[in-house]
Assembly symmetry: D2
Homo-oligomer: 98 residues x 4
Amino acid sequence: MSVLIDFSIFPVDKGTSVSPYVARAVSIIQQSGLDHNLGPMGTSIEGDWPEVMAVVNRCFEALQTDCDRIYFTIKADYRKAGENRLSGKVRSVEKKLT
Amino acid sequence: MSVLIDFSIFPVDKGTSVSPYVARAVSIIQQSGLDHNLGPMGTSIEGDWPEVMAVVNRCFEALQTDCDRIYFTIKADYRKAGENRLSGKVRSVEKKLT
Amino acid sequence: MSVLIDFSIFPVDKGTSVSPYVARAVSIIQQSGLDHNLGPMGTSIEGDWPEVMAVVNRCFEALQTDCDRIYFTIKADYRKAGENRLSGKVRSVEKKLT
Amino acid sequence: MSVLIDFSIFPVDKGTSVSPYVARAVSIIQQSGLDHNLGPMGTSIEGDWPEVMAVVNRCFEALQTDCDRIYFTIKADYRKAGENRLSGKVRSVEKKLT
């Protein structure tokens, strides 16, 4: 059983340079110990849903301390029989490329 | 303080007709008592973040009972000073239309 | 044949109040003549894919004139046999609510 | 000037194993020559907006040939002064991690 999410979060009230705030979230994701992969448009995180949501919560709370408007998106893919999908999904597609 | 989300959830292993599963989620959202608005591509829900997330959790658990693969998306907009934004955001845009 | 999208667009470099920019996009969507529905987290638009994309393009170009950073999201649902899904999808779910 | 998107596309009428269809789209993205990065929840693509949209179009058309229902999502981040952001955005965040 595995939930894989793509997660992005940033403040809308801080102007164009939001990377310090994104770094704050990424640091929390790293400390969680969950499998994750930092990408240019979001971070992929894999785990049980309660664990994954707890990390999302901590990221949101960390930005709430000094941001008045925050936007975040989650795309989630749950598969009952899934495991190690962070790398497995990419491998599965790559094998089928001709 | 308010979080407004757009939430969509559906199974990927049940073929083309997913509305029975969507209805199950919408029914849970209605029973939550939170302000919401059912749209063709997702349901908008407004509330405190813990309340909103609890509803998302219940929808996900309700589909897990008989779906092997589930996809869901959340777009969230938090505004510290916000209230009644489910209708307020639409009104604010409509006032500016010329 | 129908593509139904949920579309949201806003500048990231203009601070917290983005409704004037959203209104600019919504005005373009209205002028397109395509079926649409303005919601708090995005606008649903239905049509052929080339028509729908042309509208998205015009909205993006309209914001590019004075915005240095723009974020937008599209969720799209294509159904070969679909028609009038803007209202039809909601009705189909409502019928199944108990 | 650069648009960076996160793009995911899959059929909803083909059951749980959608990787052959995803591979078809990824193959088209690879042939486009645009900078891209395949991730577990989507592929990041960078380029001018017309180029990027042309690739999205080709992927959608390739799935339309044999899929009756298709879901796809785009998250886009435009920055007027941006370049090489596929790797640059990740580096910018990594530098700020402590």
